[in-house]
């Protein structure tokens, strides 16, 4: 039979979970992919965090963490593969397109609506691609119990060592023919090469209630390339002033932890949408050019987004107990709702075929025995990307991850420390798609039936479907993400 106080806590816990699940969340692409790299349970940190990683995953858990500083390094290897199906005969765009006019009824013609390059003139070949490589992440964190057992402050940072920030936009459709001419992983790759800096505070207003809030740093850049071209016939003569302004913006997140029953912890998290933005564009002046009314230059706007993570709501629960006289155990599970249906891609565009909201889950556990701590963790992260049977080629796979870790507490020179190691393997489940004429937004015929603009003769090479869409007629993807890390914490 529950005590009245316990019943009240339980009700409060449920209300908090309902409240948080009706709101939105956000995140860091690095931490969402590899989790808390300095703990044995990287995926279930929203309910099992014991250190500065709680600043990001659930700041409510900061109250209860020891006053520590910690640092660690993690090697992250991404082995990502995208294979493309061979193109059938007759779909190449021929060089006739430069003389073509689209044929309309009644013998009239019009300018081509699509401007593909002849397939033979594309700068990059269309190939199956291996993405990835190894990167090193440095993790630095600290927790301070400002008011012991009541108020805790924390900072947590994950910094790519080799390349502080990377941003590689690409188009998900036929427009990518002008650039890489291959499909690319939308939610991996360069997204892991972005620094994450989080500051957070946790407060324990009641003996059974902890709340917390934090801020993640994101960037908002404005890139402006002012150029003057004195002679369009001399392309190599351009006077330009390129400038970049980078502002920092704060993206908040919140957490709550309730202990409705002894040994039982119920948590909720809320992360607002996160993204790094780059705006601005080219301001191009051309000698002798008549600009639009009121304009003194040709303005070519630029919008790119990187590291986009949508609103998310998480809920979790853990339960623990004693293990003999020297040990303790705790298992936890979390579920996270991701509002990927609101996703905007690297060019700030909403996918033509809307993405799905997802519900991902984790299951982890940790055992403390003496100075040793071991943990395991498991996760499943469904892909929000629907089968790309139409015009777009967003590459993404459902991931299943396994992680394990060990750490040991010790004293050195009278200072309490904890050193640990962690490893994880995430499998991107193989996936393949074939383009379909029945798609809601099918692959476009970039070279519609046309005639030669000079002679009026039909262009046979325009008959049927011609496209340089890199994903046509299909592609497949799979991969592995593996990590190995070590960390050291000092208890102050």
């Amino acid at each position: 039979m529950l005590h009245t106080a316990h019943a009240g806590r339980l009700i409060t816990s449920c209300l908090l979970l309902v409240l948080t699940s009706s709101t939105r969340v956000a995140a860091s692409p690095v931490l969402d992919t590899v989790g808390a790299t300095e703990t044995p349970t990287p995926y279930s940190a929203g309910v099992l965090a014991t250190g500065s990683e709680a600043a990001y995953f659930n700041p409510a858990l900061l109250v209860g963490a020891e006053t520590t500083i910690s640092a660690g390094f993690t090697f992250v290897r991404q082995d990502l593969s995208v294979g493309v199906a061979p193109r059938p005969m007759g779909v190449d765009v021929s060089e006739d397109i430069f003389d073509a006019r689209e044929q309309l009824g009644g013998g009239t013609t019009r300018r081509l609506g699509w401007r593909p390059l002849p397939t033979s003139q594309l700068r990059a070949g269309r190939n199956s691609v291996e993405h990835g490589g190894t990167q090193v992440l440095m993790t630095v964190g600290g927790v301070v119990q400002a008011v012991p057992r009541v108020l805790a402050l924390s900072m947590h940072a994950v910094l790519p060592v080799d390349q502080l920030q990377s941003q590689r936009p690409f188009y998900p459709d036929e427009r990518e023919q002008y650039f890489s001419n291959s499909p690319g992983f939308e939610l991996l790759g360069d997204r892991q090469r972005n620094p994450t800096i989080v500051m957070a505070a946790g407060w324990k207003p009641l003996s059974w209630l902890r709340v917390g809030g934090g801020l993640s740093f994101a960037t908002k850049a404005t890139a402006s390339n002012e150029a003057y071209m004195p002679d369009t016939g001399q392309h190599d003569t351009v006077y330009d002033n390129a400038g970049v302004d980078v502002k920092v913006k704060m993206v908040p997140h919140f957490g709550v932890a309730v202990e409705p029953l002894p040994r039982l912890l119920v948590t909720g998290t809320l992360h607002l949408p996160y993204r790094n933005e780059t705006g601005g564009g080219n301001v191009l002046q051309l000698w002798g050019y008549e600009y639009s009314d009121g304009e003194t230059a040709v303005i070519q706007p630029l919008v790119t987004h990187s590291g986009v993570v949508p609103l998310r709501v998480g809920a979790g629960a853990s339960y623990g107990g004693r293990l003999g006289t020297k040990g303790r155990w705790r298992v936890g599970t979390t579920a996270s709702f991701g509002r990927w249906s609101s996703y905007r891609d690297r060019h700030g565009e909403s996918p033509l075929d809307a993405w799905r909201d997802t519900l991902s889950g984790t299951l982890g556990g940790v055992i403390d025995h003496g100075a040793h701590r071991i943990g395991f963790d498991w996760r499943v992260v469904p892909s929000p990307v629907p089968d790309q049977i139409g015009r777009t080629n967003y590459v993404d796979n459902t991931r299943i991850g396994w992680a394990g870790g060990w750490s040991m507490a010790f004293e050195l020179g009278g200072v309490r420390m904890r050193a640990g190691m962690q490893a994880q393997v995430q499998r991107l489940l193989p996936r393949s798609v074939s383009k379909s004429d029945d798609a809601r937004h099918p692959v476009v015929d970039e070279f519609p039936d046309s005639v030669n603009g000079k002679t009026g003769a039909p262009i046979a090479s325009s008959w049927g479907l011609q496209t340089n869409n890199p994903g046509y007629p299909g592609f497949w993807s799979s991969g592995w993400i593996t990590t190995l890390g070590a960390s050291l914490g000092v208890t102050l």
């Binding site: 013998g107 009239t108 300018r111 016939g233 002798g288 008549e290 603009g453 000079k454 002679t455």
Partner: protein, 275 residues
């Protein structure tokens, strides 16, 4: 006509049409065309027959972004000449019109339908003795394209596709005649045009006539399928008279337009069209 006593360079002017340039070509200058010593009219050279004619008119076009460029328009024509004394009646069939825009960035293309719509025009020309040579004089003539005007020379060109004087001359479903633009900017421009030109040349030989062209061209834009092409591009004749030239070479009677286009280099002896 009788050829008695009428010779160019000692040969019989009227009997020697066998020197027409055939398919194996070569602009053989043949006999030099000079007046006989007695100065009588019956010393006129006989230029009747079938000719290939090449016009190259040079212009200075002001292109957006690029500025002034030296452009040229080359026309190849098949001409049948009837001669009555010094008066010539030329039936001109246009075989090809090519524009060298003077820049790779923007090129103007004259569609075949445009060329085909030009049909056969008739031009009155005369020969005029000047010393020992004969001038080839084609007085100013006007040509309208895509528009019908009562006052061919003086009436302003219409500027609206809805103007009843505008008609679809090249039968492509667009008003006026269609000119195509490719390159940095591409699209179709629908225009009404008025050309006027006069030619003054010389009968170089029985098989070759050369001259210079004085010309003016007016063009009204009736529409375009690219807004950037809706503004008229200023174009004036190149003041260098050597860039606007006419050459006629005699051909065999059975040489048609396709042959003239295919054998341009052989017929005229040098590359044309570049201004």
């Amino acid at each position: 006509m009788s050829g008695a006593g009428c010779t160019f360079g000692g040969s019989d002017l009227y009997a020697d049409k066998s020197q027409a340039v055939g398919a194996d070509g070569g602009a053989d200058s043949g006999s030099e065309a000079t007046a006989g010593g007695d100065g009588s009219d019956n010393s006129l050279p006989d230029v009747s027959g079938t000719w290939a004619q090449r016009w190259v008119v040079g212009s200075i076009d002001t292109m957006p972004v690029i500025g002034d460029v030296q452009a040229s328009t080359k026309s190849l024509m098949r001409v049948q000449v009837e001669q009555r004394g010094a008066d010539l009646l030329m039936r001109v069939e246009t075989c090809l019109v090519e524009v060298d825009s003077g820049t790779e960035i923007i090129q103007e293309v004259i569609p075949d339908a445009f060329v085909a719509s030009l049909g056969i025009s008739v031009r009155a020309v005369w020969l005029e003795r000047q010393g020992s040579r004969y001038r080839f004089v084609q007085p100013r003539a006007y040509e309208l394209r895509g528009v019908r005007l009562l006052d061919v020379a003086g009436e302003a060109l219409p500027t609206s596709a809805q103007d009843p004087r505008v008609y679809d001359q090249d039968v492509d479903g667009r008003p006026g005649v269609t000119v195509r633009v490719t390159g940095l900017v591409d699209g179709e421009v629908w225009v009404a045009q008025r050309d006027s030109h006069e030619v003054e040349g010389e009968v170089v030989s029985l098989d070759r006539i050369e001259g210079r062209i004085r010309w003016l061209k007016e063009q009204a834009i009736l529409g375009a399928d690219n807004p950037l092409l809706e503004s008229p591009l200023p174009s004036v004749p190149d003041p260098n008279p050597d860039r606007s030239t006419m050459v006629m070479v005699r051909t065999s009677e059975d040489m048609q337009c396709a042959g003239i286009v295919a054998q341009e280099a052989e017929l005229f002896g040098e590359q044309g069209g570049g201004g």
